[in-house]
Amino acid sequence: MKRLSTIGGYDMLVIQMLYTGAAAGFIYPCFIIRSTEGAYWIPLVIWAIGALLSSWMYSRLLARLNGEKLLARIIASIGVVWTCIICLPVFLFLFAALVTMLRAYSEMITMTMLPTTPIAFLNGMLLAPAVLALAGMMPIVRAARVFFLFTVLLTLGLLIVGLSDVHWTLGAPWIRTNGDFFYDKSFYAGSFMWMGFVITSFIGPYTGQSARRAWKAYATAILCGLPFIAGHIYLPIVTFGRELSKRLTFPFISKMDAISHYWVLVENLTAIFVSVTMFYILVIMALKLRAVGEMFSGLIPRANIRIIYALAFLAVYTAATLLTSWRTVEEITLLTIGFRLYVMFIFPLLGWLALAYGQRVGKEESL
């Protein structure tokens, strides 16, 4: 059944929207909030353009694959050793992103819903994404489609309910900016929100057509996701003001806490928000684990897939459990900025060069 194993445009859109949700309801928006004194939408738009640029570079790279996997092609072109070298930062980025996501989410749970449950137990939820990642890409896509149904409705609902008690004057300045965010580390730390395409690029084979379709879906997802992200950033600000929002660890959670309506059945909307976020991050963690897994099974073709995923699970779980303090998580996010920028902009160039080199060598050999 070949027609079932390709990812359609809608599937890509779903996954990228889930990715947006997973990143937007999370620690990354507060980096953006801290990054500037001016208008917030400007860094957002700059990043969105950066994301489009990066994904376009990737899609050009993927279009040259002709139905093969990215890593397999690179290995075929420049050999295992060089591939390992240029992929090491990618791996480190994925690993750090996994650890941060898991740890940040368990921190979120500890802060809001289950204050005394040990974090080691909460981190155990990584098991579900690991199993999903092991099952393959199509199960991830199908789970994503189901989750998307719930999450999109609930997130939209939460954002709309979140419009209560807002004072638009608090959001000012709306236009002014002095570019101070370019000098702020937090601006670059928020880059993770825009890397959805990178992760899917490492999974699965692509052809010229599917790469173009994927890029289109991604561009749509960015457009649809921008209001989501902006909502997550602006809602706390127009409620609490900048000064308080910058001091809160999870501004959006406090925003959810602050909502009280006679007609909202649930007293504590934070519970809903945290639950919805769980759907998002389960899928995205599965996606990242899948990317890590495919990377390793590409580099070490003889390895048992189960063992790769089991090791990945154990490594991420251990790392996330060993991170005791929240500050460390934030520091890791700041420290891995370099990797992220590398993965976003430099890796596709290197990959493109590698493929071109491989082609030339192939031509010379055939001559």
Partner: protein, 363 residues
């Protein structure tokens, strides 16, 4: 092979059972919790505070005792400290996660409330949508007396401020997150309702307390509070405005605020249009519509004047006019806003539309 697998399964099953027995870290059954309905903070000796807790009791036990609530107080250096100490006195777990209201004693509010409220945001034990009010007078009586109106005691305070309760426009419902957000916002000062003990009921609204940073510096009376609500768009309900000879109800209001900055001096223009209906006019002295309007307008102007005088004198921008200057000021100048507000030029005009003037059934 098969047996080995079977063995693994049994081991993992036992592992799961272990989780079950050691797990449930946060499980605490609802009947083993004492839910705090209202919390009261009162100044005690030195830097200590006295925290009052009012726990609504479930109806099951109601049959035995005549009160539907239980009150206790506890000294402590902070609220968290007091809560910890209170746990030594209680048979069930103290659970502040459903607290509906936080009442702060006036004397405590005069010396600064921030150190005592900070626990709520930091610890997230008290919901951020709890109502905050300042209490003038004896905290103990408010906490120990039963509500004659009979609502569950903890919920009563919240109901008092709900939109469907009467007199809302002057009550100025303030929630914990608002207090906290304004503490950090240099452009916006707090205005928290001030309650006094009532003779027949638990409490009555006395006015609204003006805060600079986290201290009380003044007070708006009820009439001034009404204008505050009108100017800040908080007023959505109809309200009776009593005048000397005739009663007028404000049914609809809209105010436009224009701001400008001239040579570092903020200029604020408020253009307020009101739709009012005549409810009752005195038979002893006949007034025609223009007279009523003129009287109302002068009343409003008088209250507005005193209100702005009070707030400007203290530099307390309770209206949040400063937020409109955010884009005009540089971030470094934000902290200067209270000083600028003192010098601000505020002007206001009222456009009043009177309806129902043909109300003369008795003649």
């Amino acid at each position: 092979m098969n047996r080995k697998r079977c063995g693994w399964r049994i081991v993992s099953l036992f592992g799961l059972l272990m989780f079950l027995t050691t797990g449930c870290w946060d499980a605490k059954d609802i009947d083993n919790r004492m839910m705090v309905g209202v919390m009261g903070l009162e100044k005690s000796s030195g830097s200590d505070i006295n925290v009052w807790f009012r726990f609504p009791l479930p109806k099951g036990t109601l049959a035995m005792s005549e009160k539907d609530f239980f009150t206790m107080s506890q000294y402590g250096q902070t609220v968290s400290d007091a809560m910890n100490k209170a746990k030594y006195k209680l048979p069930k777990a103290l659970d502040p996660s459903s607290t509906r209201a936080i009442l702060v004693d006036e004397s405590l509010a005069k010396s600064g409330i921030e150190p005592y409220l900070e626990f709520a945001v930091r610890e997230r034990s008290v919901p951020l949508d709890a109502v905050v009010a300042i209490i003038r007078g004896d905290m103990e009586r408010i906490f120990t007396r039963t509500n004659p109106t009979g609502e569950l005691s903890g919920i009563y305070t919240k109901l008092f401020f709900e939109t469907y309760a009467g007199g809302v426009p002057r009550k100025n419902k303030t929630m914990l997150w608002e207090v906290y957000a304004k503490l950090y916002n240099p452009f916006h000062a707090n205005l928290i309702p001030l309650l006094t003990e009532g003779r027949q009921n638990s409490f009555v609204l006395a006015g609204n307390a003006i805060f600079v940073n986290d201290r009380i510096v003044g007070e708006l009376n009820k009439d001034e509070s009404l204008l505050y609500e009108i100017f800040t768009h908080r007023f959505h309900d109809s309200e009776v405005e009593l005048m000397s000879k005739s009663d007028i109800r404000i049914v609809n209001n809209h105010s436009r605020i224009k701001t400008a900055l001239q040579d570092g001096k903020p200029i604020i223009r408020i253009d307020c249009s009101l739709v009012t209906t005549l409810i009752d006019s005195s038979r002893s002295r006949k007034q025609n519509a223009p007279q009523i309007l003129a009287e109302l307008e002068s009343d409003l102007n008088k209250h507005a004047k005193s209100m702005f005088e009070k707030t400007q004198r203290e530099g307390a921008d309770v209206f949040g006019f400063g937020d409109r200057f955010r884009s005009r000021l540089k971030p470094a100048e934000y902290e200067k806003w209270p000083e600028m507000f003192k010098r601000a030029e505020i002007s206001y005009t009222f456009h009043i539309d009177l309806r129902n003037t043909g109300l003369e059934f008795l003649d």
